[in-house]
């Protein structure tokens, strides 16, 4: 054994060192991520209230059950509505802000960047609670609207299905735009200024430069933010729980919120909850895969 080791070539030694550094992290990921995933899948094949779990008969009955669950289908609808409306608005805003703040001649850049990023430093629960009180019937927004004589009396934003969804979307945009902007900003700073100069000399205007240079060169960043946003939105939880409690009449409930309710508010059914969580995982995986394929520039 010893003599073998001594005989390792330099390349082999480097490889061994590489593996040695990788192993702890890999082991931790396996134990903390992959093992729970496998367990979750096994639990998703079981059924029963609380501790009385047994394997379901037929084995995939939890997955069939989802198709008949009106509340869960409604929660899928809600989540995808947030996804379709909120993610594009947020990413476009983020890219515009990044473009503005990347301006070489702008003063107090650091201050503005900090301001835009600051919402991300607030905790999810506390910002959701603040939005809840802002949009309450006697909240700040209503008081302003009444004072300006736009409304006669406070509007029940959170008590109305459509407006409650809008409030959640506004809250999400507020919370996450700055976060994505930071990625775009770093992406923009990696673009050589000479490329822009060349474009200027060729007579391209701002709009053309944006579409012809900025967007293509930012593509990897855009894809990454898209995947992260899709992932985050599909797992949306805090806003639904704290802002609206999923109400009124489940009009704003998200998938993860419903999974939580199934475990901790209702009679606990961890098997069914795991099955739903697994479906969310599959959805995220599929959407991320499509995203990667669409964005793949290699021919």
């Amino acid at each position: 054994m010893n003599s073998n080791k001594k005989g390792m070539t330099l390349v082999a030694k480097q490889k061994a060192a590489g593996w040695a550094f990788l192993t702890p992290a890999t082991l931790m990921i396996v134990v903390m991520s992959f093992y729970p995933m496998v367990r979750a899948f096994l639990i998703s094949l079981q059924t029963g209230a609380g501790a009385n779990m047994r394997y379901a008969e037929p084995i995939f009955s939890n997955y069939q059950r989802m198709m008949a669950d009106k509340v869960f289908i409604k929660s899928i609808g809600n989540t995808f509505l947030y996804l379709l409306i909120q993610v594009p608005i947020m990413l476009i805003l983020a890219i515009l802000l990044a473009q503005l703040l990347n301006n070489k001649d702008l003063k107090f850049k650091g201050l503005f960047r900090t301001c835009v990023f600051l919402p991300c430093a607030t905790s999810l629960v506390s910002y959701a609670l603040i939005f809840r009180s802002l949009f309450a019937q006697e909240g700040l927004i209503n008081s302003i609207l009444v004072k300006l004589h736009i409304l006669e009396s406070g509007y029940n934003f959170l008590g109305n299905a459509a407006s409650a969804k809008v409030v959640i979307i506004i809250a999400l945009v507020w919370r996450w735009t700055g976060y994505n902007m930071v990625f775009y900003l770093s992406g923009l700073q990696n673009i050589e200024y000479s490329v822009y100069e060349a474009a200027k000399i060729d007579g391209a205007n701002g709009w053309k430069t944006f579409w012809g240079i900025t967007v293509p060169l930012l593509k990897p960043t855009i894809i990454m933010t898209f995947i992260m946003s899709i992932n985050g939105t599909l797992q949306l939880f805090d806003e639904s729980v704290n802002l609206t409690k999923g109400g009124p009449a489940n009009a704003t409930i998200t998938m993860s919120h419903y999974v939580y309710n199934t475990c901790f508010i209702n009679v606990p059914n961890f098997g069914y909850a795991s099955a739903m969580a697994f479906l969310i995982f599959i959805m995220v995986a599929i959407l991320a895969f499509i995203n990667l394929k669409v964005g793949d520039t290699r021919d």
Binding site: A49, K70, R132, A161, P248, A249, N250, V267, P268, Y272
Partner: protein, 441 residues
């Protein structure tokens, strides 16, 4: 150089403070483990308790410990403050993993959720039937929350008896007396509430639109529920349920009830004076008496009752809690003895905690004592404590269900849909189907 030093210092401070967090966490865990390990061997006179509300439940528990210590000098008790929601989440997590060792010895639990835990984790709690409590000293309904198959699992504590709290000054302004609202029906109440709202701009009733309790206490005041005796979903074809839902949606349509979106807004209507009436569990007392400038303006009376139902009463229960001993308790005899000699049988104890916590006992003999019969200044001299204990003896029993929260959600969803224009039959059918679905596996 200076910058570097500063950043090192800052980083060091952060790491230290984080480490401190970690430490306090482990010390908590340590004392937890200590109590459970100590149970068998060295003396084992320490009990841990999960409970919420410093001014009420926790205070009462600590007072109980002090009283018990007088006769048992080596007794020790530690209360770990755990919010009501956290109690449920933590218990679910401990019990579902099958590892009971992280549970406390004694836990406080909402009456409405206990049946759910008993169904899900039948081994997680200790049978208290023969622990020495005279169960007849507690109202039958209150006992039934913590019972299964004629066995007792909980020592009833926080009374959930409901009352109607009204602002007499507002009623005066609208030309009503508290007597006009005593022992009335919900339709009469609606009439008065609409009138009061017109004259004063204030509401006599507030309710949460998602997860509101008013509909639950309406049906339970009739001795009924949204499940039948076999525990099956019973919304469609349930006359009592339909009458309650009719009355309630009618109140919403006539603007006799103020709908709010969450508990903060609910409490705000009381504190900002928008609500001239509160119909809920007596624990709202703490919120109401907190508003100093409304002193002397509040009085309590019975709830309205549901029209046209033979079994209807003016009494209901909502949201009390009881003490449970978990299976993790290594010294169940001590825990039982402690609970029996304080919460289970001591009028002195209840007399002592009343002025401190204004918590109403479920222990019926306590209601006869002098302390309970003293007039309460805040309520214009009304002796509300003995009145509430008296109310609690009239509450009808009804079939409990582990699916309490599911039923409440299904029915509240139906009500929102009906007020938004869905036909009643369709909304109720959907509620029935949703509840049936959730009860299946």
């Amino acid at each position: 150089m200076k910058r570097k030093l500063l950043s090192v210092l800052l980083a060091g401070a952060m790491v230290l403070s984080l480490a401190a967090c970690g430490n306090s966490g482990t010390s908590d865990g340590g004392s937890d483990g200590g109590s459970s390990e100590g149970g068998g061997s060295e003396g084992g006179n320490k009990l841990t308790v999960w409970a919420w509300d410093q001014t009420f439940n926790i205070k009462a528990m600590n007072m109980a410990a002090e009283q018990y210590k007088k006769d048992h000098s080596d007794f020790d008790l530690e209360v770990i403050e755990t919010s009501s929601d956290d109690c449920q989440t933590k218990l679910t997590t401990c019990a579902n993993s099958g590892d009971y060792s992280t549970m406390p010895d004694i836990v406080l639990m909402q009456d409405n959720s206990y049946q759910k835990f008993l169904k899900s984790y039948p081994d997680a709690f200790t049978d208290l039937t023969d622990c020495g409590v005279n169960w007849d000293d507690f109202a039958a309904l209150k006992q039934s929350y913590s019972m299964a198959d004629d066995k007792h699992y909980g020592i009833p504590y926080d009374n959930g008896v409901c009352a109607a709290f009204y602002r007499t000054d507002v009623l005066d302004e609208a030309g009503y007396k508290i007597e006009d609202l005593t022992d009335i029906t919900w339709s009469k109440f609606t009439e008065i509430a609409v009138d009061v709202h017109k004259k004063t701009g204030k509401y006599l009733l507030t309710s949460e639109s998602t997860g509101g309790d008013v509909i639950m206490l309406m049906i339970q005041s009739c001795g009924a529920n949204f499940v039948n005796e076999n525990g099956e979903a019973y919304i469609v074809g349930n006359d009592v349920a339909e009458k309650c839902i009719d009355l309630y949606t009618e109140m919403i349509k006539q603007d006799a009830v103020k709908l709010v979106n969450n508990w903060d807004e609910y409490v705000a209507t009381v504190t900002n004076g928008e609500a001239a009436g509160v119909i809920n569990g007596n624990w709202m007392n703490a919120t109401i008496t907190g508003i100093e400038d409304q002193k002397g303006n509040w009085q309590i009376t019975t709830l309205p009752k549901v029209d046209g139902v033979d079994t209807a009463t003016n009494y209901a229960n909502n949201g009390g809690s009881s003490w449970y001993i978990t299976s993790n308790c290594k010294n169940p005899d001590l825990a039982k003895d402690f609970l029996v000699n304080t919460f289970g049988s001591s009028t002195d104890f209840y007399d002592a905690i009343l002025p401190e916590t204004s918590g109403i006992a479920c222990y019926l003999p306590a209601g006869e004592s002098e302390v309970y019969n003293e007039p309460v200044e805040f309520y214009g001299g009304q002796p509300i404590y003995s009145t509430l204990v008296e109310y609690s003896s009239h509450i009808p029993e009804f079939t409990k269900t582990p699916y309490h929260y599911e039923a409440r959600e299904a029915v509240n969803t139906a009500i929102v849909n009906i007020t938004n224009g869905t036909a009643k039959e369709d909304a109720l059918k959907e509620a029935q189907e949703t509840l049936e679905f959730k009860m299946s596996e």
